[in-house]
Symmetry: C2
Subunit: 316 residues, 2 copies
């Protein structure tokens, strides 16, 4: 069955993530019907859209269309028939999600994809009350802020249909995003697991006094992170092996194992008093940093970096 | 005791690392006396210098001075008295390093820093035969290529003098590098441990079929890595906690623990047949990629990224 093209998106919830999705959808020329029960949500959304217009890469519409192609509604129900896809950004509470998804499933045309931005709850847990077509429900987990950072983790539950997975990957790709497919539900998906891996070792090194919090971060920003912005760990390994991943693993394997054994022996325990030592050492550094300036500078460089990458012929 | 300023550097070994150090030292206006026993080493070094001139950030000399301020010598011994610092890049073999360091220590003026680029062998193991002044020996481990990537891990052994540690940090800093101090010898230092942490989880996810090798890398290059090029894991946590690291840890701690428990249960075993599965899945992807193009594009973007960062007011 050919799927209709997606022209109108429903956005449920306009917190940080929902507002940023709305900005992205509008900038790419979609119409958005959006709802949020919080007082003043419509005004806040409008402010958000105005503030972030200039930072969205590769916009497809005029600023005027961007600011006018959405409709903020108090109740989404009368509009569910107009939607070609729903991006749900409700609170991360299982009971809430279960009720919301059951309601959306029951009242939205049968083949419309319902994507949840949830990072914490696998969708198999919240589709349990969906009677109509749970196969069109999946996770589309963005990296904050979605209007800027290309990554979206697409995570089907065991009952999600292939056709919906393919369509979701195509949809996000058509917006200039870089969707990745998480084949099986896994706690933390991919990004949060990789992040936890590096953080756990970072916390251990800082708490043990091997390196200061500032120098730990510098090891990443002045070394590892520069590479990882351009090549992932696997391609970095492959290039490090002279173009041969097998050579890299065979050659570095033994050293790698030694490091991992030592890391395991000094594993950070988040329930121990080491957390207090960690906090103290981090705060010693962070309390002397102008965080507002760091964040502004980061945002500016991030926009430039994403632009340079998308202009690169290779499109890394 | 005031230390003389460093004007002439000795470079021992002109493999990839030694050649790149030589390029950096020359571009920053230092004189270099350099040696390598390999046949044709002088010609290869000259070719390397010519090739990489245009990629070195913030050069301090003309191209002509850059290409003429070094002297390639067959034997370094007659020149040891002229050196203000030695950067040693010999083979990573303990017996070789022990003999080399003992010889350099015995024949170089007593207060001259001897820095080793070694990534694998802690210096406490190779200073054992140094009779004169082992306190001036330390590791200055660069991230490849040193003429471009700012990170240098400075790792003293337990007997290294504070004065030499401080002087080494100052010296690398004066060249525009970002040195970090590794307070205690630790297998893999900082960068390789963080790299091993992320790779171990990446290998597990790929071998288990949770994500393809290509999408694993994309998770980093289109998400995590973009952040890490600009803010390290600790600052990312802090900004994620609304400027409060403690809030971040207290809030995310429980989820973090759940992920780490699951990651531990599915820990990658480098001695198992999972390695073959991993290799097969990586090669399925990599064999379809033009690695030369990826590398060229990466180098070009890396130069641009380092330039943008150094021009940023914040100097992240």
């Amino acid at each position: 069955m050919a799927r209709p093209s997606i022209k109108t998106v429903g956005v449920i919830g306009t917190g940080v993530i929902g507002s940023s999705w709305t900005a992205l959808f509008l900038a790419k020329g979609l119409k958005v019907i959006v709802t949020d029960p919080a007082p003043g949500a419509e005004g806040k959304l409008r402010d958000y859209l105005i503030k972030h217009w200039s930072s969205i890469p590769d916009v497809k519409v005029t600023q005027s269309d961007y600011l006018n192609n959405f409709k903020f509604v108090e109740k989404i129900d009368p509009h569910l028939g107009e939607l070609d896809l729903i991006q749900e950004n409700g609170p991360e509470r299982l009971d809430f999600k279960r009720r919301l998804l059951a309601h959306l499933d029951a009242n939205t045309p049968e083949n419309v994809i319902i994507a949840s931005s949830s990072s914490g709850i696998p969708s198999s847990e919240f589709v349990t009350e969906c009677k109509r077509n749970a196969a069109r429900i999946l996770i589309g987990h963005p990296f904050n802020p979605p209007h800027l950072v290309p990554l979206v983790e697409v995570v089907p539950h065991p009952g999600t249909g292939h056709v919906y997975v393919t369509a979701a990957l195509q949809f996000y790709g058509s917006l200039g995003k870089d969707p990745v497919l998480v084949n099986k539900e896994t706690p933390g998906f991919i990004a949060n697991r990789l992040q936890a891996a590096i953080c756990a070792e970072a916390y251990s090194l800082i708490a043990r006094g091997i390196v200061s919090a500032e120098d730990l971060d510098k090891t990443v920003t002045s070394g590892l992170g520069l590479r990882w912005a351009l090549n992932g760990p696997i391609m970095t390994n492959t290039l490090g092996g002279g173009g041969d991943f097998n050579h890299f693993i065979d050659h570095l394997g033994p050293a790698f194992k030694t490091w991992l054994v030592d890391m395991h022996q000094h594993k950070f325990d988040i329930d121990s008093q080491d957390v207090d030592v960690l906090k103290e050492r981090v705060n010693e550094w962070v309390s002397h940093v102008d965080l507002k300036e760091v964040e502004e500078s980061r945002n500016e460089l991030l926009i430039g970096l994403i632009k340079s990458k998308s202009e690169s012929s290779q499109g890394l």
